[in-house]
Amino acid sequence: MSWQIWAVVAGMAVTNFALRLAPIAVLSRMRVPRPIERWLSYVPVSVMAAFVATEVLRPGGAWPAPWSNPYLFAALPTAFIYHRTRSLFGATVAGVLAFLAFRYLLG
């Protein structure tokens, strides 16, 4: 069991680093064509929106009713505080506190 865990750790370390390095190593030394560049410019906002939608509306793969979903209620003050303060740290802390409060209130 113990050697299996070590094997998994080593395997993951290698695959993970390879997946992260390959595109940077190759594409940073190439001229990316305009259409691809335009496509890539929409990737970050789309990725973040997709993460937020699934993690907030379907936490843990469940689909709770919106009015009893603390993730959804907590996301609103998080977004508001980030919008006001531009502080990732402040927004995250406020988000977790709001989450604890809403989870308590919503049972």
């Binding site: 865990i5 997709a50 939608a53 995250t92 988000g95």
Partner: protein, 210 residues
């Protein structure tokens, strides 16, 4: 700093979960030091706990981390003048959150090589420290969800999403990606709905761009 503070509690949660999955302290620690893949590490621990074999775990986590190819491709044009030796730590620390922070700063022109490496290294330090705390004090911490740590990542993503919505067209992209990922989550497992939705939304926006 923000990414550091965000990663400590999640790292602690990983430490606790890894311990219950049979990892020794050293194994949990090494996993966070050398792998540094938040979601991937949780999945690996859960699969090992369920009795999965080495190949299953490596394939499942490899597939989950395919999204990092997309991240690497997106950030690569900003690393044109970055020496290879600096690209290595940048690539190693390219997690979801570090990508979100660095690409937002790079697009607004406030990032350089060292600020981006700084964000990555701080996140990694927080993750490793958190994992050590979690694995070392698993019995003391108990169920990590009672501290609300499961909202730390969604909170960070929410803030990074707000940071990314800088134009009307980006707001449209976000709406398309969000709705599509929910739809895809009905039929696809793991990180696939998010990857598929992001690629579709980017395609729709790029094709309709003037």
């Amino acid at each position: 700093m923000p990414v550091f503070m965000g990663y400590v509690p999640i790292g602690a949660a990983f430490g606790v979960i890894a311990t219950t999955a049979g990892f020794s302290f050293l194994q949990a620690f090494a996993c966070s030091v050398f792998v540094f893949a938040g979601a991937g590490q949780f999945v690996a621990a859960a699969l090992l706990k369920g009795g999965a074999g080495i190949a299953t775990v490596l394939i499942a986590t490899g597939v989950m981390n395919l999204r990092h190819i997309l991240f690497g491709a997106t950030i690569a044009p900003y690393l044109r003048n970055t020496p290879r030796r600096l690209q290595l730590p940048l690539a190693f620390t390219l997690t979801d959150e570090v990508f979100g922070v660095n690409i937002t700063d790079a697009q607004s022109g406030t990032a350089d090589d060292y600020s981006m490496i700084g964000a990555g290294v701080t996140a990694w330090t927080g993750w490793v420290l958190g994992s050590a705390i979690g694995a070392g004090a698993a019995a003391l911490i108990g169920d990590p969800t009672k501290w609300g740590v499961e909202f730390a990542m969604p909170a960070m993503f929410t803030a990074l999403l707000v940071a990314q919505v800088t134009s009307r067209r980006r707001a449209v992209a976000a709406a398309v990606a969000g709705a599509t990922s929910l739809g895809l989550s009905l039929i696809l497992p793991g990180a696939w709905p998010a990857i598929g939705a992001a690629m579709l939304a980017a395609t729709v926006m790029a094709v309709t761009d003037r």
